[in-house]
Amino acid sequence: MKNVAKVGLGVLTSIGGYLEVGSIGTALQAGARYRYGLLWALAVGTVCVIFLTEMTGRLAAVSQHTVVDAIRKRFGVSFQIWPLATQSVVDLFVLASEIGGAALALQLLTGASMRVWALPVALLVWALLWFGTFRAIEHSVATLGLITLCFAVAAVKLGPDWHEAVRNLVPHVSHRDPAQYGYLAVAVLGATISPYLITFYSSGGVEERMTPKDLLPNRIVAAVGMSFGSLVAMAIVVLAALVLAPRGVRADTYQESAFILTIPFPRWGFALFCTSLFIGCVGAALELALDLAYIVSQSFGWDWGESQRPREEARFALVYTLALLVAPLPALAGLDPLKLTMFSMAITVVALPIVIGPLLVIMNDKQYLHAQTNGLLGNVAVMVIVALAFVLAVVAIPLQITGAR
């Protein structure tokens, strides 16, 4: 019974915490410009994330150590500085996007400029981290994040062509503006397979004191939670295909897409969209700020843990404090959050191989995983994901140049 409750909570947390500014923005553009044509990218990304989160959760449960701990120990500091530096930059950019997204949501709801909201949003995120515990933050934000299920309800309500949607789950190319198609595919994959998910999930596993008894719940939560979360993101693609595409709206900004829920929900649709965007962005901002503090602290062996008081882990707390001082700057400068998001997704993809690559070694390390090292399926999955990550990293910047418009 306890395990069922744990799994249920884990699944709800995954669903509620899945959507954020990157997944919303890329799904809107994908659906608006290519209708169902990029659903396969979400599906592929989700399969990758399921494998990766299961593995990092398993590492945390068996060894009570995180991916960063294992990388530092196995490869040494002269290698580890590269994923640390890369992921820190990526986390900061994505954090800035999330703060911008949340500020924009408040702008849409209140009419006051997002520049006014940037600092209060950052302050809210900081206060939740400073005064809250990991469990309280994770569960409360994820519970609120269940509001994003409104996208799924709306998509079903509009009666999409399910056959067409399912057909587009198979990877294919588009002949209409292939550079832009490729760029959006990369962006969707970057939004789905975020490096911070991997390090955050393993750190969360240690924070929650996962043990080998949690291996099966971890597997279920990874598979079911991420799948359901992905369905919500797919629902946004479907909605954009049904609402934005026929009206010629390209989803160049969140503002022009904000009416997307007013068709299925005339009275509450706009407020639902803005609230979903706000909650999704705040939740992701919490995770990203924490992730930055996790990876720096774990790399250098500092004490870390969201459930501790800030003065007991001063360096850990100050890392996320500094990050939240810097992250609102683009929003304060008025930089469009969607443009920053799409750029962040491209650099996320460039960072992927360097963060995921070491898993090939770590997940076969008996000193950490004992009898729970990867089997054949796990190792093949990691190799395919690493290969995919390398391909994406190579094509991301050229596609950003040729396909971003």
């Binding site: 090939l360 070694v361 076969n364 090292t373 190792n379």
Partner: protein, 98 residues
């Protein structure tokens, strides 16, 4: 080349090529083994390997059932006083395999 030192860092030795008197590379230092003797930890041996990247991947060992061979040099068989250029003090044939 650095001068001879009394204090040497293990991380400076890691990966360094060990050369025999004839200049031949015998291997790279991959491990330093120590044993406790009373209150003191003393180095007993150095493990030399090829330093090959693939061999260090646990996956290769797992799939090809191949443990990379390592040469074991006793503490008195390698001069590490110049950490950037460790020198073999015996013949390569005197080293043992692990």
């Amino acid at each position: 080349m650095t001068r001879r030192r009394r204090i040497v860092r293990v991380e400076e030795l890691l990966g360094r090529r060990v050369r025999a008197d004839d200049g031949r590379v015998v291997g790279r230092i991959e491990e330093v083994r120590a044993d406790r003797r009373g209150d003191v930890y003393e180095v007993t041996a150095y493990l030399l390997g090829t330093g090959a990247l693939l061999e260090r991947l646990a996956l290769v060992r797992k799939w090809f059932r191949r443990r990379p061979a390592k040469l074991v040099a006793r503490w008195d068989q390698i001069d590490i006083s110049r950490p950037d250029a460790p020198r073999l003090l015996c013949t390569p044939e005197e080293l043992t395999c692990e």
